[in-house]
Symmetry: C2
Subunit: 375 residues, 2 copies
C-alpha cells in the first residue's frame, strides 16, 4: 500500500465552500501524483458535520460530480473526529479491487455561530447520556484532563508546553490555521478558561479545510510512500460506562495491531502526528500508543523530546491545536504531513527518520485509527 | 459471498430510539444466523439523517457500544437513500479481511415535523443548485415523472397501478409500514396532490425502522443465500447538468456491472426490489435496469406482470411506498425480503424463482447500488 499523491488547502477561516475546498485538494493530489482523473477507480470522502450544519450530506456524489462523467464508486464515511483516518483505512481495504483510490477529507466550520458549531460537534457523542446531560466536548475533555493530570501529577505548565510546541511548529507550516501567530506562555495564561483546567489554548479550533491523498497497491514513483499499517478500533461512545477515562481501549488496540502489522516496536517510531483535540490528550495518547511508559508523557514534554529538534517529534505540522481541526479533513492532513516529512520536503520543519505514525480519535474514544508510514 | 442472517424491526411510526431499533435488528440477525456476537469481525452502519435531525452522528461507535467489549472495527456509511445498499456493497468488499460482517441500516424520521423532515431529506441534494432554489425532493420527483410520462405516454392511472400493487403486497407483510391499510383507486384519486403529477400515494412515506444482515465469504448453513453480484456507481448530484432526466447513467452502469458479475442476463431475474421513492421511478428504473425495454414498463404494469402472481414480481414486501422508507435501512430491508423469498419463507407473498435483484438510489441519481442474490 502506497501514497502516490497528496494535496491540501490551507486550514483556517476560508471563504470557499465544501465542494470548492474538495476540488482544490483533489486536483493538487492528482497533480502531485502526476495522475489523470481517468486513472482513479474509487473515491472515499470523510466529512463530519456537512449535513447537520449545512444540510449537505451525500458528499460521495458531490465528489463524483467534481470528477465529471467518471461515475466512480464513491463512499462517504463518517466517524466523528476520526473520520479522515477511518476513511483512509477503509479505502486501503478496497485496494484488492480498485487500483487507484482517492481519499478526501473536508470540513466547513467557521461561518457557524459558536453555539451552532458546539451543537454540531457534540453529535459525535451520545444523545441521551451525554448531549442531553449537557456534557459538551470541552466539558468531557476537561473531565478526562483533570483525572489524567491528578493521576500522573501533570501540571498546567505541562499543558502549556504542548500548546507552545504545536504553535511553534505551525509557524513553520504556511498551510496551518495559526501560521504567523505569535504565542507565548503569558498569552496562554491570560487566555479565557473554557472549562477548567482547559484554557482556550488547550482546545483545538474550528477550522475550514480539505486534504486528499491517492492510494494504491502499486508504487509508481520513487517518492511514493509505503503504508506499513492501517488499523482502527472502536470503544464505548460515552464516558459514563468506562471505569477509567484517562486511557482508552480503542487507542491501545488500534496501536498494538498497527505495530504488529508493520512488524515494528513502538520504539522504532521516529515521529508522529497525534490527535491533540485537547492538550492533555496528546499526552495520554502517547501513553496509549506506547510511545512512552504510562504516566511518563510529561517527562518527554518537559525535556523537549517531542519538539522538532527532539528525539520523538510530535505534531510537526502544528497538530489539531495549531495546524487546525477541520474535522473530516484532519486525519488526511496528518497523512499529508507524514508523507511530506518522509519525502524530505518539509523544509524548515523537516525532522529526521523514516517511520512515522498518525493517530486520530472520535469522541472519547469511540473510534480510533492508527497509520504507520515508512519512507 | 453469502447472507448468513437477517433481522428487522417493523417499519412505521415507532416509539423506539435509533439505538433501540439497531439493537432489535442486530440481535434478530444474530439469532437468525445462530451466531454469537463474539463471532463478528466488523460492523457497517448505514444512516442518513441521524446527525442533521437528532444531532446523533458517529453511529459506528453507537453500534460498537451495543456490542459491549468487542471494540470491533466499525464504519458509518452515508449515501442518502442508497445508503443501505452502499453500506452492504462496502461491507462485502472487506470480506477478504473480515470473516463475518454485520451490516445495519437504521433511520428515525416520524417524530420530526414535516418541514424538518423535508429539510433533512433534501440534504441528499445539492445545496447551491437545488436546495437554495427550492427544488425539494417531491418537486424534483415530479419533474422527472412529468418528463418520463410525456416521453412514454404513461398515464396517471399507470402510477396508481404501481401504488395499488405495492400497498396490496404490503398487506401481506406484517412488518410493513402500511400493513392492514386498505387502499383503492378512489382513495388514491381523492388524496392530495403533493407536486403535480404526484399525489400522496405516489410518494414514499417517512418511516422509522432498522434492518440488519450478516455477511460472510463462507457458507455455514443450507439456508444461507449467495450474493452473486454487488455493484455501485455514482452520477451527478443535481439534475441541472443532465441532458435527460428520465433515465440515469449511475443506475444503468451499476445494473450492467451486476449482470456481468453474476454471469446472467436481465431476463434471468425472477423478482426484484426496486427503489420506488416515487411511483414513476419504479417504472423508469425497470428500464434502466433492463428488466424491460425502454418505454415499456407501462405495459408490464398494465398487464399485471409485476404483481405477486405475475411473471416478474416487483417490490414483494410493498416497496418504499408501502413497506416504508426509513432511509438508511431501506437497502438492507430489500435484502431482507430477497433472502426471505429465496429461502421460501415469505408465506402469503411467496413468489417462485431463485434469482432476485435489489436496487436503491440516492438523489436523482447521485448514487446507485444493485445486488443480485441467488437461492
Amino acid at each position: 500500500m502506497y501514497i502516490l499523491g497528496i494535496g491540501r488547502t490551507k486550514f483556517g477561516v476560508l471563504p470557499e465552500s465544501i465542494p470548492e475546498m474538495m476540488y482544490e485538494s483533489i486536483y493538487k493530489a492528482l497533480d502531485d501524483a502526476n495522475m489523470d482523473v481517468k486513472e482513479l477507480d474509487a473515491i472515499f470522502v470523510s466529512n463530519f458535520i456537512g449535513d447537520s450544519s449545512y444540510n449537505q450530506a451525500h458528499l460521495s456524489s458531490i465528489a463524483s460530480t467534481l470528477l465529471p462523467d467518471t461515475n466512480l464508486p464513491s463512499f462517504r464515511v463518517e466517524a466523528a473526529c476520526a473520520g479522515g483516518g477511518v476513511a483512509l483505512h477503509l479505502g486501503l481495504n478496497t485496494l484488492h479491487k480498485y487500483k487507484n483510490v482517492l481519499v478526501i477529507g473536508v470540513e466547513k466550520m467557521t461561518d457557524l455561530g459558536s453555539m451552532e458549531s458546539l451543537r454540531s460537534v457534540c453529535s459525535a457523542t451520545d444523545l441521551v447520556l451525554e448531549q442531553k446531560e449537557g456534557l459538551v466536548f470541552p466539558a468531557a475533555g476537561a473531565l478526562v484532563s483533570q483525572l489524567y493530570m491528578k493521576k500522573n501529577n501533570v501540571t498546567l505548565k505541562d499543558l502549556n508546553l504542548v500548546a507552545l510546541k504545536n504553535h511553534e511548529n505551525a509557524n513553520l507550516n504556511p498551510y496551518a490555521h495559526f501560521y504567523g501567530k505569535k504565542v507565548t506562555e503569558e498569552i496562554i495564561n491570560n487566555s479565557p478558561i473554557i472549562c477548567s483546567p482547559l484554557r482556550l489554548f488547550d482546545c483545538s479550533p474550528n477550522s475550514d479545510g480539505a486534504a486528499s491523498v491517492i492510494i494504491s497497491n502499486e508504487k509508481r514513483n520513487k517518492r511514493d510512500i509505503k503504508i506499513a499499517a492501517s488499523e482502527m478500533a472502536t470503544g464505548n461512545i460515552h464516558l459514563a460506562i468506562e471505569n477509567d477515562i484517562t486511557n482508552f481501549p480503542a487507542t491501545k488496540i488500534a496501536g498494538e495491531k498497527a505495530y504488529k502489522a508493520a512488524g515494528i516496536t513502538p520504539k522504532e517510531i521516529n515521529f508522529a502526528e497525534i490527535h491533540d483535540g485537547f492538550t492533555a490528550m496528546e499526552m495520554s495518547s502517547m501513553e496509549d500508543l506506547q510511545l512512552c511508559k504510562p504516566g511518563k508523557a510529561k517527562e518527554l514534554i518537559r525535556n523537549g523530546i517531542t519538539k522538532l529538534n527532539g528525539k520523538l517529534p510530535i505534531n510537526m505540522d502544528g497538530g489539531l491545536k495549531a495546524n487546525g481541526h477541520p474535522i473530516g479533513a484532519t486525519g488526511i492532513a496528518q497523512i499529508y504531513e507524514l508523507v511530506t516529512q518522509l519525502r524530505g520536503e518539509a523544509k524548515k520543519r523537516q525532522v529526521p527518520g523514516n517511520i512515522g505514525l498518525a493517530y486520530t480519535f472520535g469522541a472519547l474514544v469511540g473510534s480510533a485509527s492508527v497509520h504507520i508510514l515508512r519512507g
